[in-house]
């Protein structure tokens, strides 16, 4: 059974299963948009493989991290742009 990982999204405590990507964890929590586009549209993952950069979030204050290319880890602080 995968372990539960506790972390925060926009300051709210959440949990996800170990081995999930940040992008998948956001989707499972009902957060469809990871960022706002330059004109303010909500955007979420498109390609799922690190090419499109639509799933960008800020992780532990590091901006422009692709949520589909990073696994959730204990205590991480995820900030969406949406």
């Amino acid at each position: 059974m995968p372990q539960a990982i506790e972390f925060t999204i926009n300051g709210n405590s959440v949990s996800a299963r170990e081995g999930q990507t940040v992008a998948a964890a956001l989707a499972n929590l009902g957060i469809c948009a990871s960022r706002r586009s330059v004109s303010g549209e909500p955007r979420g993952p498109l390609c799922g493989m690190g090419i499109c950069f639509e799933c960008e979030v800020t992780v532990d204050q590091k901006p422009h991290v692709r949520g589909c290319q990073l696994l959730v880890h204990q205590g991480m602080k995820v900030q969406t742009g949406a």
Binding site: T21, N28, P42, G44, L46, I51, C68, Q69
Partner: protein
Amino acid sequence: MHSFDVLIIGAGPAGIAAAIAARKSGVKVGVVDDNLTAGGQIWRGAVPRKWTDAFLNSGTHLLAGTRIFDAPQQGLLLAKTLESLIELRYERLILATGARELFLPFPGWTLPNIMGAGGLQAMVKGGLDIAGKRVVVAGSGPLLIAVAASLHKHGAKLQAIVEQAFLSSQTRFAASILSQPSKAWQGAKLLWTLHGVPMRHGAYPVRAEGDGRVRSVTLSNGAKVDCDYLACGFGLVPNTELASLLGCRLNGHFVEADEAQQTSVASVYAAGEITGIGGLEKSLVEGTIAAYRATGNLAAARSLDRQRKTTHTFQRTMDVAFALRPELFKLANEATKVCRCEDVTLGALEPFNSWREAKLHTRCGMGPCQGRICGPILRGVKGWRDEGVRPPIFPVDVAALVQTSGVQAR
């Protein structure tokens, strides 16, 4: 700094097969991949046992989560992980950079929960819980059926599978793969899994609607289908950016490779989807041949020539069966975003005659994806060609660029 006799870019089937074959000569082999684990797209999270074992036991050095962004001099690549900058030196280079999906713009296509077909599958493999979710799978190509079957297995409620190609051309495709029993059997199994799911041929999405995420998609036959996710991909586009940066000649959209899988640049080989979209078997055999050639194992390479020829025949059959209809490139209206990074609409491109001109005035294709998504769209919709690549081929922070200039100066 890492130094390899044979460096392979891409840890999908072509890269894995190449690594195993190259290690047979006992040389030092490295494989780099931007993804977190080996497998590429088709084997994401599930590399077949036979290949995993051979790969793990081969003594290949795997650098995952690592993306190449520059090739400042011959025999040297620069790469970035989440934390650091890496120099990679090589004697021989095998490019196995694979393909991405072709997305085509239609009104509403930028709504959250509209993803690529392979894109949604990758997300599910990354832990997205699709059980009970209403999904429409649309676009073109054999990938749609494979994705639909996989989503179905994970409990998705498939609302429809929508293939733009007409049934007649797919029937010919099906007939042609009967000569390859393993493929025919695979296809039959997938279709059996999906019995009961509405399958629409010769149709495509014309509009998606929603509030904050997709709620429904309207198809070219007028049907409006409610959904939680729209998985939509129109085939595959080769990832040729690194090859172009290295100066490898392209043949159409693909990297030109000779019978040795050698590109136009000395010591640089190419294998898999970047030389032509042909699927798993083609990637495996080309990766193997490239590695045997790169390590001087000529007899072993030659013994696979016939096998490679079969995969190339399959590739041509697929191209014909799933050729995209011209209507698909006319779905966007003036207000539809074409470049998602910079939010450039089709209307905003109206005054310009080339991508270069449009870039200067609108920043179209100059965002983080660097035209990887909108480039193929502009080719289809406007007939514009991309005009070469410049480093960095992936966005990097300024600190890395400063370090890079140090490397170049040495």
